[in-house]
């Protein structure tokens, strides 16, 4: 995303305006922080929402958790907390919130991305033969996914989101070697069903 310039003294404004400019600068800073958060929200809300939805399977709750994660980002950045990767940070907080919410409302954090049947891209294929092949592949893929554990699916999803293993480890709060091991097992299981 585009970088937001930091707040600056408006060319000696503080000196010349004296007491009148202090709060205005603070307000200016708040506005910039808001713009920054809004930018991150626009950019990352959809992937975070999809990830959380796959955990709780409730659109309303996923929306709320996603919003909450960004509100916490606002608080954290407002306090000057050092965040090395905003995207990982938001995913990590959203992941934890989803788990907490799952405990609170006693729903199982399923991370089921293989559940409901829905309109798939194969429906758009013009050739019936291609469509049948694609559907068959999709069915087998879903079958393969249903054999994965929640942890394995979460690792795969985060990888598909483009996170490196260290970032996945940070989000799920496990070791990097744990992530590699989990991904390896997940792919072996998938291959077993797919081949």
């Amino acid at each position: 995303m585009a970088s937001t310039p930091p707040i600056t003294d408006r060319e000696g404004g503080l000196c010349s305006l004296g007491s009148a400019s202090g709060e205005l600068i603070a307000l200016d800073r708040q506005r910039r922080l808001m713009a920054l958060i809004e930018g991150y929200f626009e950019e990352f809300r959809r992937p975070v929402y999809v990830y959380v939805f796959s955990m709780c399977r409730c659109p309303g709750r996923a929306e709320e958790i996603t919003q909450d994660a960004f509100l916490r980002l606002h608080v954290a950045m407002g306090r000057g907390e050092q965040i090395s990767s905003v995207r990982s940070w938001v995913f990590r907080v959203a992941h934890n919130l989803a788990i907490n919410e799952g405990k609170k409302h006693r729903f199982e954090v399923t991370n089921s991305i293989d559940g409901e049947e829905s309109a798939s891209p194969s429906d758009l294929l013009p050739n019936p033969e291609e469509r049948v092949l694609s559907e068959e592949r999709s069915t087998r893929f879903r079958q393969g996914l249903s054999t994965l554990t929640n942890h394995q699916r979460q690792c795969m999803q985060l990888r598909a989101e483009g996170f490196q293993t260290q970032q996945i480890a940070d989000i799920l709060q496990i070791s990097r070697s744990g992530v590699v091991d989990t991904l390896q097992r997940a792919m072996k299981r998938l291959r077993k069903v797919m081949v």
């Binding site: 600056t8 709060e23 598909a160 293993t165 792919m187």
Partner: protein
């Protein structure tokens, strides 16, 4: 990796498929695969699996995820509410918890502590605390209202059409309000409950009676469901804290019940109890009930319609009234808070007290840090003037000051100020003034990701500016009575003065500590060197020196961190860092002197 001709480890093959091998590992793997090609198909399988999953996840799965049911509505309102009052207890707790959500062990400690505290509270108090405070809901509702009104300002010709069912005992009315927010115009239409139209040029008697009751109770009859109106009625945060509140969450709404503290004998037409119903999804108020101290019936208001329409789509009579000059608008059509009408007492003692009381009221709302307001003594009392960011903020400050006798307020919103000063434009910044921050290289090294870098710079400059803002606040405070040796202050006011001075000084130190800590990896540590600076004659002089140094420090930090710090003479980072350390040392040494009691030096 295994040695010799053995097949490479699966871990290594997977990391190769993930593209996360170091150069050295990649070379070793290539050598190994050259000797033992068995590993190659495995790596290819991993790559294929990852690719297939990615395609499935980004294609089929993402398409099957339903859109969020509320289309992200409410987020910007919540964000605005958080911006307006980031230092409330609730926000602080949320912030602390938010910071801990990625540290499970601390989260558990916090959870256990909270449970113990909750158990103690339940043991000692029978009435349970609400999960969401009335204050928080009102704040969020007010922020959401402000946000909506700001949005309406963008679309000229947009009119809010709101229908309210009004019930007072057995009497019922339907009121339809057409509100042009951008032009501050409002037209009311009344009808009986069965839909029969009344005369358009007159209010029915019940409406006139209610307008009077609302006015005397300091409620806003032109927009009776406005959360700001409720806040104003409660007389600001201090009064709200005293009010007894309950918040119920059911059927998608918050129902806030507020009872004002019992005071005998209660004057006529004072609201003693109110229910205020706010929709949870977007914090929009949908109903209210008011119980007055007089024996009159309760007033129930329910919103049955809230829509935005272009002015062209409204009926001609409404349009013409909305377009009429402001003088022809019905009384109370433009929402404005009641102005302060206390009789001023102009004796010198009371002016000193009033001035500090005003400063204290502003201090509690963080409005004494410069910029927003200015407190001035005039021939007939004390005047608080200033420009604030929003109408809501204006009402909050006016409500807080209303409780102090002898105060005149002249506060306007930025929009009003801009309208007054038409034709003034800001000169664009010269392109030549923009150049890279002096510490650009160190910043990129420490924070390779742009987002993290932005956040760090933002936070660091914020610390510097907050310290400076506190310096200015202290300076203004010193100009008031105690610093000039005034003895006419009451003990209570004197205590308030000291409390403000201590808080400003303490916050200044905190912000400076944070600033120096953040700058240490980039510009080295700052240590105090008290023996290198001459001792100022008084506490006030020391404070003035600190503020001067803080100004210079702020410019310097901005120059070091920012891409648009404006023209400066010095460009060499090493020299700038040396200047920063000298200034920092000086400020640290002087601030140590400020910890002494201010009065002793004046």
């Amino acid at each position: 990796m295994s040695s010799g001709n053995a097949r490479p480890d699966d871990d290594l093959l997977l990391r190769a498929a993930l593209g996360e091998l170091s150069e050295e590992e990649a070379t070793r793997l290539a050598q190994c695969l050259a000797e033992c090609p068995d590993g190659d198909p495995v790596a290819a399988e991993y790559r294929q699996s990852l690719q297939e999953f990615k395609e499935f996840y980004q294609g089929e799965f993402q398409q099957s995820v339903p859109e969020p049911p509320h289309a992200w509505r409410g987020f910007y309102g919540k964000l605005a509410a958080q911006r307006q009052h980031p230092f409330t207890l609730g926000a602080r707790l949320r912030a602390v918890w938010g910071g801990w959500t990625h540290q499970p062990s601390l989260a558990w400690v916090a959870a256990v502590t909270c449970m113990v505290v909750a158990a103690l509270l339940i043991g000692t108090r029978l009435n349970h605390a609400p999960r969401v405070s009335a204050h928080e809901v009102l704040e969020r509702a007010a922020a959401a209202e402000e946000q909506a009104e700001e949005a309406l300002h963008v679309f000229s010709g947009a009119v809010v059409c709101q229908t309210l069912e009004v019930r007072v005992g057995a009497r019922r009315l339907t009121r339809t309000v057409y509100r042009d927010v951008a032009r501050h115009r409002q037209v009311d239409r009344w009808s009986a409950r069965d839909g029969g139209p009344l005369r358009q040029d007159a209010q029915p008697p019940l409406a006139t009676e209610l307008a009077g009751r609302f006015k005397s109770a300091r409620l806003n009859w032109s927009d009776p469901l406005s959360p700001v109106s409720i806040q104003t009625w409660l007389g600001g945060r201090a009064k709200l804290d005293q009010a007894q509140e309950t918040v119920r969450e059911e059927d998608g709404v918050y129902t806030i019940t507020l009872r004002t503290p019992a005071s005998a004998p209660a004057p006529q037409n004072v609201v003693t109890e109110t229910d205020f119903v706010v929709r949870m999804t977007d914090y929009h108020p949908v109903a209210a009930r008011f119980q007055f101290s007089s024996d009159a019936d309760e007033v129930d208001l329910t919103e049955t319609r809230y829509e935005i329409h272009p002015v062209q789509s409204l009926e001609a009579s409404v349009r013409s009234e909305l377009d009429a000059p402001l003088a022809h608008q019905p009384a109370g059509a433009v929402k404005e808070p009641a102005t302060v009408a206390s009789e001023p007492d102009t004796t010198p003692e009371s002016i000193e007290n009033v001035e500090i009381r005003a400063l204290y009221a502003l201090h509690q709302r963080r409005a004494d840090l410069g910029g927003e307001t200015e407190v001035k003594r005039t021939a007939d009392g004390v005047t608080v003037s200033g420009v604030v960011v929003s109408r809501r903020r204006k009402q909050e400050l006016v409500a807080a000051l209303r409780l102090i006798p002898g105060i005149r307020t002249d506060i306007e919103t930025a929009e009003q100020a801009a309208a007054r000063q038409t034709g003034t434009t800001t000169a664009p910044q010269s392109a030549a003034a923009i150049e890279l921050p002096a510490l650009e290289k160190a910043l990129v090294e420490n924070f390779p990701e742009q987002g993290a870098r932005d956040a760090f710079v933002l936070g660091t400059i914020e610390c510097s500016q907050q310290a400076l803002v506190r310096g200015f606040a202290l300076q203004r405070l010193l100009r008031t009575a105690p610093a000039r040796g005034g003895t006419a202050l009451s003990p209570e006011v004197r205590r308030e003065w000291r409390e403000m001075a201590t808080e400003h000084r303490r916050d200044m130190e905190t912000q400076l500590d944070r600033l120096f800590d953040r700058m240490t990896p980039l510009a080295g540590a700052v240590t105090a060197q008290p023996d290198r600076i001459p001792r100022a004659a008084s506490w006030a002089e020391t404070e003035a020196e600190v503020t001067r140094d803080l100004q210079a420090l702020d410019k310097l930090v901005t120059r070091l961190m920012s891409a648009s710090a404006g023209p400066v003479e010095e460009r060499d980072p090493a020299t700038l860092i040396r200047q920063y350390q000298d200034l920092g040392s000086r400020i640290r040494a002087r601030i140590a002197r400020l910890r002494e009691e201010p009065d002793e030096h004046n």
